[in-house]
């Protein structure tokens, strides 16, 4: 399987990538790690005629502390996010999430920005940044703007990104030492979550329980009101809309959500 023909352009920095995006408009797609886009292009599920390779934008590959925030450049690979001491110390939930993605080869190529922009409802990092209360920094022709993770994932594989914008930075609240929990239910190794749960600081996010990653709002409210873990977890599947596929039907996914939320809340390694 090979993708349909396209033109390949390599961007040197963010400004250059934005120029190329403007020049090529709807025809073009950004290429980061290529580990969602290339498989989709092989299957003809995506058919851009221009690829703008942003993988070499050295100005977007970093992890650094910025006041009470941990700033991660969009091109940091899953391997880097999973292994960097700074991420493991200041945002352990995010490091753990990245370290569970696919397999080592996938983590060497895939990037945090690519995963969030792709917005697969079953993916690890979208759920994790939602639980972490991250802020995403988008850059377009008019400059930079910030979008809360809560407002970024707008639906099935869709986000608040405009076609002429690039996701440049992920800003994570520093949470060194705070307890967190993560549950990824899979049947095969290197697979996406059948249902996933990430929780930290009273926030609980779910993967694959709807068309986008979701907050388990009723569970969060119950926890805030002082409910115990089991009572709060019972509410985890409220207002969810899980799909049916060969792995699980909606009723089983709701059951998994309740069980996994209870596990994530009680495991909370820290």
């Amino acid at each position: 399987m090979i993708p349909a023909p396209f033109e390949y352009l390599r961007a040197h920095d963010v400004a250059h990538a934005l120029d190329l995006l403007r020049e090529h408009g709807d025809e073009a797609k950004l290429l980061a790690g290529g580990h969602s886009l290339l498989p989709m292009m092989k299957l003809r599920l995506a058919r851009p005629t221009v690829l703008i390779d942003i993988a070499e934008l050295a100005d977007l590959d970093y992890v650094r502390v910025d006041g009470d925030t941990l700033a991660v450049g969009a091109l940091a690979t899953h391997a880097r996010v999973g292994e960097a001491e700074l991420v493991r110390a200041e945002a352990p939930l995010i490091a753990h999430s990245a370290s569970l993605i696919g397999d080592p080869q996938v983590r060497h190529r895939g990037t945090i920005g690519g995963s969030l922009a792709h917005a697969d409802p079953a993916a690890d990092l979208p759920m994790a940044v939602l639980a972490a209360g991250a802020t995403l920094v988008l850059e377009g022709p008019a400059g930079r703007r910030e979008v809360d993770a809560d407002d970024f994932f707008t639906g099935f594989f869709t986000t608040a990104l405009e076609p002429d914008e690039i996701l440049v930075e992920i800003r994570l609240p520093r949470r060194a030492g705070e307890p967190w929990g993560y549950e990824k239910f899979v049947r095969r190794s290197n697979d996406w979550a059948i249902v996933g749960v990430a929780t930290v600081a009273g926030r609980v996010a779910l993967a694959n329980m709807g068309s986008a990653p979701l907050r388990a709002a009723e569970t969060e409210r119950a926890l805030a009101a002082g409910a115990g873990i089991d009572a709060a977890a019972e509410l985890a599947a409220e207002n969810t809309d899980p799909v049916s596929d060969l792995h699980a039907d909606p009723a089983y996914r709701r059951h998994l959500a309740r069980v996994l939320v209870a596990r994530a809340l009680s495991s909370a390694p820290g």
Binding site: M1, I2, P3, A4, P5, F6, E7, Y8, R10, L31, G34, H35, L38, P39, K42, L51, D53, A55, A79, G102, D103, P104, Q105, V106, H108, R109, S189, N190
Partner: protein, 154 residues
């Protein structure tokens, strides 16, 4: 067509290629290095694993264009002066292969794993090779081979 230059096993290889050419086909058809196999073509099996700038990648899911200006290592480049690389020697000694189809990818994934973690535990090896499937061996001898290679290299 675009011009790419990739250093493959230490040798500069340049060619005019279609932008959609996959790295695995660049290696097999342009460089005529046929050890790297295509198994699934869908990023699942790891048969096409090579090292790109020293880390393991699935070359069926990398464009030759993305490798332009970078270094690739394939299993053909491992042996030195007729001596098998310790990982190759260990796969042979421990019977880490049967049909051999997964082996080039398995060996390159193992080389990458040992570079990052020279003394892995058995569990770290099993997790580290999660991206490589073998239909024959049942994995035990592969894991043994990687443990033996780690010892031999120490």
């Amino acid at each position: 067509m675009i011009q790419v230059e990739v250093t493959v096993n230490g040798e500069a290889r340049s060619a005019e290629v279609e932008p959609r050419l996959l790295l695995v086909h660049f290696l097999r058809d342009v460089c005529r290095l046929r050890a790297t196999n295509v198994g699934c073509d869908t990023t699942s099996c790891g048969a096409c694993t090579v090292l790109l700038d020293g880390v393991s990648v699935k070359s069926c899911t990398v464009l030759a264009a993305q490798a332009d200006g970078h270094e690739v290592a394939t299993v053909e480049g491992l042996a030195r002066e007729g001596e098998l690389h310790p990982v190759q020697a260990a796969f042979r000694a421990e019977h880490g292969l049967q049909c051999g189809f997964c082996t080039p990818g398995m060996v390159m994934a193992s080389v990458g794993l040992l570079q990052a973690n020279p003394h892995p535990t058995e569990e770290e090896i099993r997790i580290g090779l999660e991206g490589n499937l073998c239909r024959c061996t049942g994995y035990h001898n592969i894991v043994r081979a990687v443990l033996a290679a780690a010892e031999a290299e120490a």
